[in-house]
Symmetry: C2
């Protein structure tokens, strides 16, 4: 789908605040809310907008620790292993990567104990698991939910 500058403006606004009303968006980009409604519908249907999500502070819901895990899996078992991995609660992201690790995963857990359990009792026990390295996140100085949207 080809995005014009109007679509991009709409995306920038909704990336920044997904609850902005269509009529507010319309005001800002100087169009009618019917047009905004149309365009947003098309952006959703085309898969350009994949969803709208409230960002919740992990600490507030008792997720006190997070880590990035590099994983090596046995050759030929990738598919299998991945499916198991992404079904484990707390596994938030699973990426296939070049370099030292086959898979990089981002996980959340309640505390160090829960993280150890997640690692040793669940991830390390998966069929196809070869080895891993856990990088505990000590802090996140920067985390943006907004991608840079270039002008047309």
């Amino acid at each position: 789908m080809e995005l014009d500058e109007t679509d991009r403006q709409i995306l920038r606004i909704l990336q920044e605040n997904a609850r902005t009303t269509f009529s507010e968006v319309a005001r800002r980009i100087d169009m009618s809310s019917a047009t905004v409604h149309d365009r947003v519908g098309r952006l959703e249907d085309a898969g350009v907008i994949e969803g709208y999500h409230a960002k919740v502070d992990p600490k507030a819901i008792d997720l006190g620790i997070s880590a990035i895990i590099g994983l090596r899996v046995e050759q030929g078992r990738e598919q299998d292993t991945l499916e198991r991995l992404q079904d484990i609660a707390g596994v938030q992201e699973v990426h296939l990567t070049t370099g030292e690790w086959d898979v990089m995963a981002r996980v959340y857990a309640g505390d160090a104990d829960a993280l150890r359990e997640l690692m040793f009792d669940r991830i390390a026990q998966m069929d196809g698991f070869a080895r891993s390295q856990t990088m505990v996140i000590l802090g996140t100085p920067h985390e943006s939910e907004e991608l840079p949207i270039a002008e047309e």
Copy 2:
């Protein structure tokens, strides 16, 4: 802030779809929309809800490549280096980590050329930069925007 089960239900709904109307939330949790309005306001004020963001498909906005970068920085220069790093366009997340790397960053770029430029001309040129390893993301079989919210 202490969250009761009602707060948690509201958070689950808004994590899944941030544009759910308060009256729809109210229907689902069997309360009035005024109450939902009140509670969401309190959750926002307390910082439990940090924002609402449309998730945009990176490919649709010409961000064709993403990578995870492990970085080592010179001791004593961490603060400085971090500030520079997070101001570079395309740097989406910056985490301080234990283990092999001091910093793990998630970056987006238009294509391999742009990623190389980002790495060599911007990141590797930062004061305090020591060394890095780039793990190009070949695919993301799983990426959730929703944290698991345990029952009270």
